[in-house]
Amino acid sequence: MNKIYKHVMVDIIRNRMVLFYTLLLFIVSLSIFSLEDTSSKGILSMLNIILMIVPLVSLIFSTIYMYNSGEFIELLLSQPLKRNTIWWSLFIGLLTALGLAFLLGAGIVILIFETSLLGLMLVLCGLLLSCIFTALALLAAVLTKDKAKGIGLSIMLWLYFTIIFDGIVLFMLFQLSDYPIEKFMIAISMFNPIDLARILILMQLDVSALMGYTGAIFKDFFGTASGISLSFGTLVLWVIIPFMYSLRYFKKKDL
């Protein structure tokens, strides 16, 4: 597998987009931590930035990369290589590039200004979000043959996870406000990795005290070790399931 992985890596690193992304994350995170007077405020601002930028860049970059490597994949397929190997190499290659970009651009700055479990959790969430949205991008790219449709699908996925899902949840909250749905909301949050990451980090900050009864229920769950590990487990599942689906589909795909 490392036979092709090496060539995929060289190809991605040469792409200026990744360099630009690293630089952007670096400038943003450095300026946020220098502007805010406490690091806890800095973490909160960083959280919002990460939850917007990381999924968007991971999705769009990976989708475009997959379409641009159409010829590369075809060339590899005519060689004595398993489809499994090719797909895994592309996935791991993208993960390494985007993961490194995040670590170098934002991860190091976060850990310098907030050297604690909270900082570590934020970095981990950022890395996992990079993995999740790369896997989703692979799925979008393998499902649609047309480049424009594939990128459109990626943007729709991003809109859904960052905006539309929250809208639906808010709507449900208002409609069902007479019923005890707090526990149910924990389950619902598992269906959106971005929300899950947000709640996970918010519950480690003091602001959770301002969120009323739901905040208390959430704190009861997400504040405990088992809640945290269950959430991280769910995030990992969010990487594995879309990727496995894309792999299964790629094995049967005609090129």
Binding site: H7, E71, F72, L75, L77, P80, L81, R83, D254, L255
Partner: protein, 232 residues
């Protein structure tokens, strides 16, 4: 030795392959011809498993290829134009192929030298003309001394001199007892090389005949005339 049995493939509502049977013996040089959209490329891609057939099986040197990948080490494939990664240089593409097939030490660099590709190793694939890409494709197909050559429109875009070099190479490899499958629309080029003809039409094999049989049946010398008589 390649045998396909009852091959069927459908893209959406279009039936591209219908019950395709072909047999490619060792040492045969087969011309795969037919009008546009008759399923030639799909058949070739099925042999390489780039397209997965709906039904039927393909047997390569005695083994069913379903789910296999090692057999492709014995195939030299030259795809139709422009299917190469744009941002890699010629040198990188060739060294990557060598890296993937590390265990195949016996390399044939004759075409690399005849086409003088080593002088332009630093050029990117995206900046090359169609003909130059064809040359790279031809070199890659012959590089690892495979048993079987599958050449999809090999001479499209090549200048006459390079076409002649490629033809001589194919004839040379044929004399070594290797199997070759060529698709082409330029029938006059095929005359000296081929020993068998497979004619496809709308996803079906209309006939598979050796050149001698065709000559006897049609009393013609030129391949284009033979084909015209056969399908009339």
């Amino acid at each position: 030795m390649i045998i396909t049995e009852h091959l069927h493939k459908r893209f959406g509502s279009q039936q591209v392959l219908r019950d395709v049977h072909i047999t490619c013996r060792p040492g045969a040089c087969i011309a795969l011809i037919g009008p546009n959209g008759s399923g030639k490329t799909t058949l070739i891609k099925s042999i390489l498993q780039m397209v997965i057939p709906d039904r039927g099986k393909i047997i390569f040197q005695g083994d069913d290829i379903t789910g296999q990948c090692e057999y492709r080490a014995k195939i030299g494939f030259m795809p139709q134009m422009t299917r190469y990664p744009e941002n890699m240089t010629i040198g990188e593409v060739i060294s990557m192929m060598m890296d993937i097939r590390k265990d195949q030490k016996n390399r044939d660099e004759e075409l690399l030298e005849q086409y003088q590709l080593k002088d332009i190793y630093h050029k990117r694939m995206g900046t090359l003309s169609g003909g130059m890409r064809q040359k790279v494709g031809a070199c890659l197909a012959f590089l690892f001394q495979p048993d079987v050559f599958i050449l999809d429109e090999p001479t499209a875009g090549l200048d006459p001199l390079s076409t002649e070099i490629l033809k001589q190479k194919i004839i040379k490899e044929k004399s070594k007892g290797k199997t070759t499958i060529i698709t082409s629309h330029v029938l006059s080029e095929l005359d000296e090389m081929i020993s068998e003809v497979i004619y496809m039409h709308e996803g079906q094999v209309l006939f598979q005949k050796s050149m001698e049989d065709l000559k006897l049946a049609t009393q013609e010398v030129k391949l284009s005339k033979m084909i015209a008589k056969m399908i009339a």
